[in-house]
């Protein structure tokens, strides 16, 4: 197992945002966590990447405990988080955004090579490398957020709602790229999505989170047919 959480509990003030969440994610696969708004998906990712301290429970990455590590150390170990809302640097160039992603790396040559690879995956970023990030369209910004995360040469990518606010055609393309990435770049992906059908169609394993607790898990192609999943969303 690449990433494992066990009995992870997170509290804001006195209220539990996550209670005893135990899940795992494997290398070279997409694991998805679906659930409605406020279910605790974003909190889960922020806890893994060290932005939030858990109240109890463990997080292990490649066998090492990371639940007390700083965000810097977690990035250094190989986890890269593409946050909700993307959190780009709006008034610096696309190129600079990408290079900030490689902040902790010192191997200039390898950085150069990764930059070229990202430009291959997303040619539009190469065309616009001198433009400011805020001048990109929503889809392009999402690609930039991806690219920036890949620049740290991660082993595990955490993605928070990459499809948000994007037109369906772009959503499809993003998911397509994601699938290619896991195979080509050898990274594991944890994908958090409100768009369950989309997420489950690209993932191999899925978890359903509700009110901070896991309520369902299984292979994605089974979950997608599960009436409980549909009910969880639409109340059908």
């Amino acid at each position: 197992m690449m990433l494992e959480t066990s009995d992870l509990t997170v509290k804001y003030d006195l209220v539990s945002a996550l209670s005893e969440v135990s899940l795992s994610a494997e290398e070279r696969t997409i694991t998805t966590i679906v659930g409605s708004n406020g279910a605790g998906k974003t909190t889960l990712l922020k806890t893994i990447s060290g932005l939030i301290r858990p109240a109890s429970g463990e997080i292990r990455f490649l066998g090492e405990r990371i639940d007390a590590a700083s965000p810097t150390d977690i990035v250094r170990m190989g986890i890269s988080h593409v946050p909700e809302g993307r959190e780009l640097f709006p008034r610096i160039s696309v190129y600079d955004n990408l290079m900030v992603g490689a902040y902790l790396r010192k191997d200039r040559k390898a950085i150069r090579r990764d930059l070229d690879r990202i430009y291959q995956h997303f040619p539009i970023l190469k065309d616009r490398r001198r433009q400011l990030a805020r001048d990109l369209s929503g889809g392009e910004q999402q690609m930039l957020a991806f690219g920036r995360a890949l620049m740290s040469d991660p082993k595990l990518l955490l993605l928070d709602e990459p499809s948000i606010g994007l037109a369906p055609v772009i959503e499809q393309r993003i998911m397509e790229t994601l699938r290619v990435l896991t195979v080509d770049e050898n990274v594991g992906v944890v994908l958090v999505e409100q768009n369950a059908a989309l997420a489950l169609s690209v993932a191999s394993h899925g978890y359903v989170l509700e009110q901070g607790s896991l309520v369902l898990q299984g292979p994605a192609n089974e979950l997608i047919k599960d009436d409980n999943v549909r009910a969880a969303y639409l109340g059908l």
Binding site: G38, I164, G165, A167, P168, E171, Q211, Y233, G235
Partner: protein
């Protein structure tokens, strides 16, 4: 008669069109749901109606009068009151003080500011009596002296509705009142909302979560990408293909 008429309202932020010409009407005494996935523009819509944002074009009429460009407190004084998505309370005040503060527009005058609409909330001569009634009605009496920030999230949500109620609205707009509550809390808040309607208050409820609005709302308006994509009863909306796609999404194509 429609208490609220939203007439082709649009809002642009620079290049981004957040709301692209939405129209709908809410008849008096209805509980209306406004739903849509994240980023669909529903919160923007909410700000546009309550005066926290000014529409780029279109008009908003409340009880027949345009309220476009009016400041939020002026709109609130007319009886259109809103809550916030993130629980908004006076954190350092007690529950009672929060609700009493909600009486601001009525305090210091004889009786409540009269509303040109049906007013079935009981009438009170003093803020204290009214506060007492609201605390009781919203089941907050036991915590009346608690500092608001110490309440659990669900109770804080109830408190923010209670404070809005103190303004004695004719139209109450609730922004995700059920999000983040546990099932028991959800049921009790939903019941409160229904009984508010029975007191003559029209309600517009914005929710991300479809399930929670279905049981409460009489009519539901669905928006996505800043446009209205459906309107109808719970059954009509949930069987509408456009709505299903907006919420569940389309699976990724495996060809590509």
């Amino acid at each position: 008669m429609a208490i609220l008429e939203v007439d082709n309202v649009a809002k642009r932020f620079g290049k981004l069109a957040a709301v692209k010409g939405i129209s709908f009407e809410i008849p008096e005494g209805q509980i209306r749901g406004l739903i849509g996935p994240n980023g669909s523009g529903k919160t923007t819509m909410f700000h546009l109606i309550s005066g926290f944002l000014k529409p780029t074009s279109g008009d908003v009429r409340f009880q027949g009068h345009s309220i476009k460009g009016k400041r939020p407190h002026q709109i609130a004084k007319r009886g259109l009151v809103r809550t916030f998505q993130l629980t908004s309370i006076y954190r350092e005040m007690t529950v009672r003080e929060n609700v009493a503060m909600g009486h601001h527009v009525h305090a210091g005058r004889r009786g409540a500011r009269s509303r040109p609409s049906l007013e079935r909330l009981p009438q009170f001569g003093t803020v204290d009596e009214s506060t007492e009634w609201i605390l009781d009605f919203m089941a907050l009496s036991d915590d009346a002296e608690t500092t608001a920030r110490l309440l659990p999230a669900g109770m804080q949500r109830v408190l923010s509705i209670a404070t809005a109620l103190a303004v004695r609205p004719t139209l109450l707009m609730l922004d995700e009142p059920l999000a983040g509550l546990n099932p028991t809390e959800k049921i009790s808040v939903a019941q409160k909302i229904a009984s508010l309607r029975d007191h003559g208050i029209t309600i517009l409820l914005v929710e991300h979560d479809v399930r929670s609005v279905l049981s409460v709302c009489e009519l539901i308006t669905v928006i996505d990408f800043g446009e209205k994509i459906a309107e109808g009863t719970a059954d009509e909306v949930t069987s509408n293909p456009a709505v299903i796609e907006a919420y569940l999404g389309k699976p990724a194509r495996h060809d590509a």
